[in-house]
Amino acid sequence: MLPTSPILNRRRLLTGTAALGAAATLGLPRMARAQGGLTVGFIYVGPRDDFGYNQAHAEGAAAVKAMAGVTVVEEENVAETVDVVQSMESMINLDGATLLFPTSFGYFNPHVLELAPKYPDVRFQHAAGLWTEGMPTNIGSYFGYIGMGQYLNGIVAGHMSQTKKIGFVAAKPIPQVLLNINSFLLGARAVDPSITCQVIFTGEWSLAVKEAEATNALADAGCDVITCHVDGPKVVMETAAGRGAFICGYHADQTSLAPDKYLTGAEWNWAGVYTGMVQTVLDGGTIGNFVRGGLADGFIKMSPLGSAVSDAARAQFEATKAEIMAGGFAALKGPLATNTGTPILGAGEALVETDIALESMDYLVEGVIGSTS
């Protein structure tokens, strides 16, 4: 696909020259920011059009932008170094932001934790962090039970797989990712207990070449439904579809990348979450310091089912979705062991979606082909 890069064009040149003239006559263009209203800052670790993690947050920011009395400022590609500290301080000092959404996990410790005491009047809403008692109270951490979305992906994958082998391209073997892999397989096994899921870790959150290699390797191994957990799923989706496999999306809606092959996807619904949080602040209320939510709370949503999805898959998908919406759903039910044979849950035991133990998961369940180290 050719990039739609704007080249020299008379109108652009003219508007630019006009802008230059205007700026020159008016002097320093004073940006009337934060005049009375609330200024909200969003910071992304990658590009905001990555078809993935950052795009999901940027879509949330776009919804906030549409609210009355709110100014949104955004920065993308901000590293988890002194960069993010400076970006946050710059938004506070130069833009007058009083509500910040630093959206990458790695911003939390030490950057947000160390900056928050310096600006007690600013609210730091951090995605994916684990706020605990004793941390500054102007920090809030929030996240969603998106593992349930991968479980639903797995159900559709279980119906659509002919080879009974499904694949997962993963970034790093950390709890959030492991929970998604395990949920994807357990969803598929709810359809057919003989299904296995092969996982390949790329080692990085965004590494297009390895993501493509991993996807091709999964296709070579016979996996015919593939999903992923990397920052930008675009490469995995396009490569898998190009190899003829079905795809399940993640983070954001990737239907447009391969409409024939896209089954469904586990998406963040930050638009609802962010507008809700901003409204709370506008109304003078307080947001909880530790907020989690799932499908029923509108934190996550599923992409519309693709045209290839069979009726049987559709029926079980809808039924399970209704169960999850009712609350208290457990993807991990005993008896269950890890893929190295260590027992996790005995018969009758279960880990429901809200269980905090899931946020420190360090194993792959039986049926997943792959290793955490």
């Binding site: 630019g16 802008a19 920065e75 590609n77 988890e80 960069d83």
Partner: protein, 364 residues
């Protein structure tokens, strides 16, 4: 050039001396302006105002106490990274893998810090710094050794070594050195507050900046005021001539590469102790690559590295403001840096060719 011109007019006159001195200052400044002008044209094609752009660069990078704090905290690692390029460059070596030494220096500092928890900071911090410098020295020294003993191109080998360094860092912080409580971002254990390097009193900038400036001055003394530096410059000018003179070219290469790596390792140590609090993937921040640009802009003069690093840090500090106010992508500042880099490289061809700076040509 004619023989007469080589001999030149009487050397004592003030004006010709000034003209020669002005050349290395004026030409880079001109190149900088040409780069800015070319970038302004580029902005005009995008329908954006260059005036607003440069005003925002000023506001975001240099216009207030806060902007200076922002700029200087970004400059600290760049000083070390640029030294890692500039020192070998005086020997004619193009080392571009400083990133690897920074990353491994950071891991060494993080690991030593964890091992030294409980020890007084006056002991622990120097040990961490020394460890980081040693690891960095070995890493870039490897590239120098491959060059000297095996004839391997140091540009390629140092770049490849940087990839190996990053893979090694990932292995260590996700494996043997991982703090089990670092769940979603594998890291070494967090350093206790007494092992964290604080800020310079009166500034909100960590000590890495001051140490970086001192290192730049020391590097300048080494290159311009010692026989070692003189020997290195001879070898950089003409290896054959240096060898014929009996200069220890091999030892110079190894020594300068190791020293360059040691400086980069120190950058990693300050990242861990002053910014990150533990060694993890955030060490891979691209400072090593920005350092290449700075060293070339400074023409490998360690003293000039200081203002150039601050200038580039100021560009980066203003990048966020430019994104927010002008709705331009974050790559905009990279495009600006690219224009400036190309202008400076092209300006290299102007030395000795501009009449006002070459007194020998005045009479003609």
């Amino acid at each position: 050039m004619e023989d007469q011109a080589l001999i030149g007019p009487a050397g004592g006159a003030l004006l010709p001396v000034l003209a020669r001195r002005a050349e290395p200052v004026v030409i880079p400044l001109l190149a900088l302006l040409v780069g800015f002008a070319a970038f302004s044209l580029f902005l005009l094609t995008q329908g954006k105002s260059p005036v607003q752009f440069f005003q925002l660069v000023w506001t975001g990078g240099f216009g207030s106490a806060f902007s200076w704090q922002n700029t200087l905290s970004r400059a600290a690692p760049l000083l070390f990274a640029a030294l890692c390029v500039a020192l070998p460059a005086r020997l004619g070596l193009v080392v571009i893998g400083g990133e690897g030494a920074i990353v491994l220096g950071g891991v060494a500092a993080g690991a030593l810090g964890v091992a030294l928890i409980g020890a007084p900071a006056v002991v622990a911090l120097p040990v961490m710094a020394t460890g980081a410098m040693l690891v960095g020295a070995v890493w870039i020294g490897l590239a120098g050794g491959l060059r000297h003993y095996r004839g391997v191109n140091e540009t390629i080998s140092s770049l490849l070594l940087a990839y190996i360094a990053i893979a090694l860092m990932n292995h260590l912080v996700e494996g043997p050195l991982r703090d089990p409580t670092s769940l979603n971002k594998p890291s070494t254990a967090t350093l206790p507050p007494e092992l964290r390097v604080g800020t310079i009193p009166g500034f909100e900038v960590h000590w890495g900046l001051a140490v970086g400036v001192v290192c730049c001055v020391l590097a300048w003394v080494l290159i311009d005021r010692t026989t070692w530096g003189f020997a290195a410059r001879i070898a950089g000018g003409n290896v054959r001539a240096a060898q014929v003179q009996g200069l220890p070219v091999g030892r110079l290469i190894l020594g300068f590469c190791a020293l360059a790596g040691a400086f980069a390792g120190l950058a990693g140590m300050f990242e861990v102790t002053a910014v990150l609090g533990s060694a993890n993937g955030s060490l891979v921040a691209g400072y090593g690559y920005t350092g290449i640009l700075i060293a070339f802009l400074a023409r490998h003069n360690p003293l000039v590295i200081i203002p150039v690093a601050i200038l580039l840090a100021g560009f980066q500090a203003s990048s966020g403001l430019i994104q927010r106010r002008m709705d331009l992508p974050d790559a905009t500042v990279l495009v600006l840096q690219g224009f400036v880099f190309i202008a400076i490289l092209m300006s290299e061809a102007l030395y000795g060719r501009l009449k006002p700076f070459v007194p020998e040509k005045w009479s003609r």
